[in-house]
Amino acid sequence: MSPAIAIHLKVITPHRILCEADAAEVSLPGLDGLIGILPGHRPMVIALGEGTLTYRADGEVEAHEVRGGYAEIRGDQVLVFTEI
């Protein structure tokens, strides 16, 4: 099985697209703590709490504050719906 190289991350708020990137790893603030996602993750639905969403793309780490909402992991796509 060839592992997927990147996760396509898309963070959307009701006001704008916060970020859209191909990330090597993503970390989401779940209700009970951080949840790390690597390529090839199982499908998952996560409710988000308040905290910092970070992802690593091209060796650089980016961070965004998020509050509430949810994330859906399907295939190599991570869709995050959040406030702010």
Binding site: P14, V45, Y70
Partner: protein
């Protein structure tokens, strides 16, 4: 031939009207810009969210959350979004006729209750035989989060206690400045659109466990969707008013042009007549 004083008066009145329509256009342009920004910024979110929620509902199964339950539609609620004020072209009339069509179709097989937003819808459906559950007919241009939370709560409760089997929304979606698109969406139950692609059978992991997650997620979604639809309707209303007032100003301009032409002709005719009289008088005196 109309007399000069009447014509002048008429021109003045048309000019006044034009001034008003121009002012209204300016006002709605400003309001429109604001509403449009909100709607366009929210588009990506609303482009994706219903599909994802539908997918989640399909994964979780219809029994996982009260608002997921798809039942035979025996009692239906329809929410109609219109505006309070007129002077926005066919914005309300088109929507109301489409809504009526939709409601009549639904009423054939179910008991329909209406929730009306905007004075125009309230005034129209008062005369129709369908029961109105609630009508927001005053100051609907400044409905706030509290109103939508209340409405979403009321609908969710009614749905959970099986007082209603489906909730539909009929509204003007802001498509372009030229014309809105009348759209009908189903608010409840939250279920996957049968035509939506990309369905995967393998159930996902839930974090936290499905019940807790869905409890946090679904009511919020219903509320947000109402708010989004309201935003669309507002933007479409302002766009429609902007266009209507622009047309009115243009028509007034044309009318003024025509009237001024007539006025000048009459004035000219008057002057010519007077000149002729003077000249002929002078000629007569010479003899």
């Amino acid at each position: 031939m109309p007399n000069l004083i009447d014509l002048r008066r008429r021109i003045k009145s048309v000019k006044n009207t034009q001034q008003i329509t121009k002012a209204m256009k300016t006002v709605s342009t400003v309001k429109f810009r604001k509403a449009q920004r909100g709607v366009l910024e929210g588009r990506p979110f609303w482009h994706e969210a219903p599909g994802v929620l539908g997918q989640i509902s399909a994964w979780a199964g219809a029994g996982a959350h009260p608002l997921f339950a798809v039942r035979a539609e025996k009692r239906v609620r329809v929410i109609v979004f219109t505006s309070d004020k007129g002077l926005c072209g066919a914005f309300n009339s088109n929507l109301i006729s489409k809504a009526l069509e939709f409601i009549q179709a639904k009423a054939a097989g179910a008991e329909v209750k209406l929730i009306l937003i905007g004075k125009k819808a309230s005034n129209f459906f008062k005369k129709q035989p369908f029961p109105i559950e609630k009508a927001y007919a005053d100051k609907t241009d400044c409905l706030g989060d509290a109103d939508f939370a209340e409405l979403a709560g009321r609908l969710s409760r009614a749905f959970t206690f099986q007082e209603t089997d489906a909730v539909y929304i009929v509204y003007n979606e802001f498509k372009s400045v030229l014309a809105p698109r009348i759209t009908t969406v189903r608010l409840l139950p939250v279920a996957r659109d049968a035509a939506a692609p990309g369905f995967e059978l393998s159930a996902p992991d839930w974090e936290p466990a499905a019940p807790a997650l869905l409890t946090a997620l679904v009511p919020r979604y219903v509320e947000d969707q109402l708010r989004h639809v309201y935003g669309e309707s507002q933007a479409a209303e302002q766009a429609a008013r902007m266009m209507a007032m622009d047309n009115a100003s243009k028509n007034a301009g044309e009318l003024i042009g025509d009237l001024v032409l007539v006025l000048n002709k009459i004035r000219q005719a008057g002057i010519t007549k007077e000149l002729l009289e003077i000249i002929s008088a002078v000629e007569a005196m010479k003899e």
